[in-house]
Amino acid sequence: MNKAEVSDNNASFTPDEVMRYSRHMIMDQVGPIGQRKLKDAKVLIVGAGGLGSPVATYLALGGVGTVGVVDFDVVDLSNLQRQILHRTEDVGKPKIESAKESLLSYNPNIEVRTFEEPLVSDNAFRILEDFDIVVNGADNFATRYLVCDAAFLAGKTVVDGSVLLFDGQATVYKPGSGCYRCLYPAPPPPGLVPSCAEAGVLGAMTGLVGSVQATEVFKEILGIGENLIGRLILIDSLNMEFRMMKIKRDPKCPLCGDNPTIKELIDYDQFCGTPPVTALDAQS
């Protein structure tokens, strides 16, 4: 591609944007047309924490035009070992505020939409509706099943990731190709599988899994490569071992199976046997 073509194709980008995204735009798999796709894309990130931080940061840096962030928590000192959207001076501040500030400081050319509320059945469709892709960085099973169900029912792709201790998992669910319920039909009883707050997590692991999720988002928007649909990547960072497991759509899945019984959002706290999460809980 010669310079004149680049110039023509870049008509909708400012010279600064062309320079900013030049390492993308010189790649055949992206180019100016791909960068335009990124600029037009709208991606929602559930959770501005360990996974949400690297995902949001890379999407913003890479020129995803609209990045949405849902979180109702405030920045805690214990978050700063891994949550790179937030800084020491942000402690006590709503995470969506520090997230927005960080993302716009990285790239003022994007739009950041924030939702300072827990994602629940009553607001999930409203929050998801304007976005093309949902990134799951939730820290509890109730929200994970909610994101899975809401995205499936709304026909949206989920880029899923989770971390604990030195382990990480990531995959992509697209309606019709299996869902979180196909992989794990039911959540563990409360208390059996600890959270990061209870068991701990290596901070850098969130960056590793979050970067996998961000990469999958870029590929999905650009329509390139082989995505993680139907595959679960397992990362054991202690051995630095990466393995791939197959995920199949379960014909008996209550959400996406042949005879689905879940046709609307349910009470996920009841489903998971957990007390409802409220903003008050988060600040306590």
Binding site: G47, G49, G50, L51, G52, D73, N79, Q83, N136, G137, A138, D139, N140, F141, R144, G161, S162, V163, L164, L165, F166, D167, G168, Q169, L183, Y184, P185, A186, P187, P188, L192, V193, P194, S195, C196, A197, A199, V201, L234, D236, L238, R243, M244, M245, K246, I247, K248, D250
Partner: protein, 92 residues
């Protein structure tokens, strides 16, 4: 048949913090019984009272989920890797 067993970090407490070891069995059910002999209490954490695999946990033979094979009767062969993998919810 001797196979390699891999445990996700979060459930390694069930196997005395062993993340990888060898165990024997001709199918998954017998493998679980074999592991139970070495680590008492293992079976009750993996299987329900009605001897089905808990729905929050997947067992893979190599890269295949046994739910899509023959379940607990899935035959295992020498050299296979059997992985026990519970759901993780950590994101924060």
């Amino acid at each position: 048949m001797t196979v390699t067993v891999k445990m996700a970090a979060v459930i390694q407490k069930l196997t005395d913090n062993q993340k990888e070891f060898t165990a024997d069995g001709n199918d998954i059910y017998n493998l679980i019984l074999n592991i139970e002999n070495r680590y008492p209490g293992f079976q009750s954490q993996i299987l329900t009272e009605s001897e089905e695999v808990h729905q929050f946990l997947n067992i893979y033979v190599n890269d295949e989920d046994i739910r899509f094979l023959a379940g607990l009767q899935t035959i295992i062969n020498a050299g296979d890797t059997v992985s026990f993998l519970p759901a993780l919810a950590g994101g924060q």
